[in-house]
Symmetry: C2
Subunit: 324 residues, 2 copies
């Protein structure tokens, strides 16, 4: 099977909302009046971001999910995506399963595959995603204001914990691993939450490199500081079986969570709580934005108010050795 047959068999579907999809030099998108285009790119590399043994369907899901998560963090509605795929050889089983996982998630958000590239090379998946957001309403990292509450969705840390179990660094009962493994292999992009946060949140970011590092991006971009109650950061019952110091490492510096971190003014507390209920999501208030002469300052404390000094830093793709 050659390149064109591969694209035709596994990746070409009738265009629904796009002006022009796969099969020409470019795809063509029409934005509705008053809309801006939000776009983001993520590249996944074998070993670095996923195990060679991972199910191709889950890989297809995750490759798109991590990109949708960026749209969610901007409050953008998914429209379309392109996929560039380097494969060592044409593995039809892989392609069939991969495309199933990919399209299953894409269909959930009516997000169309409109183009891309396939080539021969070490396994590499690069997705660029396109969304639309009403003019001037994108949620930014730079919008946090002093006295904002800080929130996160979902329990954090499970993805990193599952990874370390799969790598053999720590062990746990099989049923515990099965409970947290979807956090690593099948993350749920918080697209609906991101859309609902437009006009409500002052700032937002998706958690891909660990809460400490990602919150620091908001603080630096917004020229503010933060005080966070580490014990208020939500964690799963499985994670709670770990020692407290370990729990804190996973929730603060684990990475690969793909939950949303956002800040919102105090007067919207009820609205945020209502939103959590409507969406059936766990949303936790974990701290507040403070004024500071040193933007990026992050004070961590426990539920007793005692200051915590924590040594972990954000995940970095060139200095760490784990998937994210």
């Amino acid at each position: 099977m050659g390149e064109f047959d591969l694209i035709k068999t596994y990746f070409t579907r009738p265009v629904r909302r796009t002006v022009l999809g796969i099969g020409d030099d470019c795809a063509v998108l029409q934005l509705a009046p008053g809309m801006q285009l939000a776009t983001s790119t993520d590249m996944l590399v074998e070993v670095r971001h996923f195990f060679p043994s991972v199910s191709p369907a889950l890989l297809g899901h995750k490759a798109l999910a991590v990109n949708l998560s960026d749209l969610a963090a901007c409050g953008a509605k998914p429209l379309a995506f392109t996929l560039a795929l380097a494969l060592p050889f044409v593995n039809e089983n892989f392609l069939e399963e991969f495309s199933k996982g990919l399209f299953h998630l894409a269909d959930e958000y009516e997000c169309e595959l409109i183009g891309g590239d396939t080539t021969c090379g070490p396994l590499n998946l690069c997705i660029t995603v396109f969304g639309e957001v009403p003019q001037g309403q994108a949620l930014l990292r730079s919008g946090a204001q002093v006295n904002d509450d800080i929130y996160v969705s979902g329990p954090l840390g499970d993805a990193c914990l599952a990874l370390e179990v799969l790598q053999g660094q720590i062990s746990m009962p099989p049923n515990h691993l099965e409970a947290i493994r979807p956090a690593l292999e099948q993350p749920q992009a918080r697209v609906r939450l991101g859309l609902a946060l437009r006009g409500l949140a002052h700032s937002a970011i998706d958690l891909s490199d660990g809460l400490m590092g990602d919150l620091t991006h908001i603080l630096c971009e917004s020229r503010v500081g933060a005080r966070v109650n580490v014990d208020a950061i939500p964690r799963s019952t499985v994670l709670k079986t770990q020692r407290i110091a370990q729990q804190r490492k996973y929730i603060l510096a684990g990475g690969d969570d793909y939950e949303l971190l956002f800040t919102a003014p105090r007067e919207t507390r009820q609205a945020v709580q209502d939103l959590a209920q409507t969406e059936g999501l766990q949303i936790s208030r974990i701290g507040e934005i403070i004024a500071t002469s040193e933007p990026g300052t992050l004070h961590l404390h426990d539920h007793l108010g005692d200051t915590l000094a924590l040594p972990w830093r954000a995940f970095d793709h060139f200095t760490h050795q784990h998937p994210a």
Copy 2:
């Protein structure tokens, strides 16, 4: 140097025309009223698409040029691009030269780098490019009409010839190689030509996989056939030193040309000629579109009108072993 410093040092520049550039979850683009977004993605893999020894500046140029070429083929004006980059390690010399070559070309077209991704892995460059085109005016592969003339820009075949010399498959005097090497390593995307062809050409495609294969895409999409005078296809003086059978192989099936192939109605011959003069480009009329009951039919003949049967097919990334 970590991921964030790397991006800041080599790939972050002040945003000029984009609403939001590097440094948030998404980039945000605003299209002018009446404009549609044209987008395309190309992935370049080491060994497959370029020699490990290639100058990083030339690689930066080429990675963007092959993407701009897709915009050109649609008649779209370049606006912005994202870059996803997998690197085995942080090589600052490489990054400095690579980003210079990349931005030099980007600046020529005022095309802004608005986002992307960097990660650790086998060298892989994935660029997604964004352009704008007035609503309904994108040049498509499906627009060719019976009796259209067929044109190509530039001499063809030099890139493939240079490649085979560098691979040691054939030899030639060093000054000959130097003359054709830029065709391989520093292709010029025909952006201005593409823009000028809006409203003039009926169909267009960029030549990346060889004229025969790429013309066949137009014929199939437009449900027509073509008659092409192979001797009318332009070639360089260096290519002309090769045997005639070899010349034909390079110009018809060489790939990596990044020139435009387009069709236009006969009554625009003078306009196309004027355009060539204005743009200082070689534009050659090489045949015409014909009606056929078998879309995709391609009749090749020489300048005497004798039919040629040629065995070459389009370049395919999974069955051939050469850069394109």
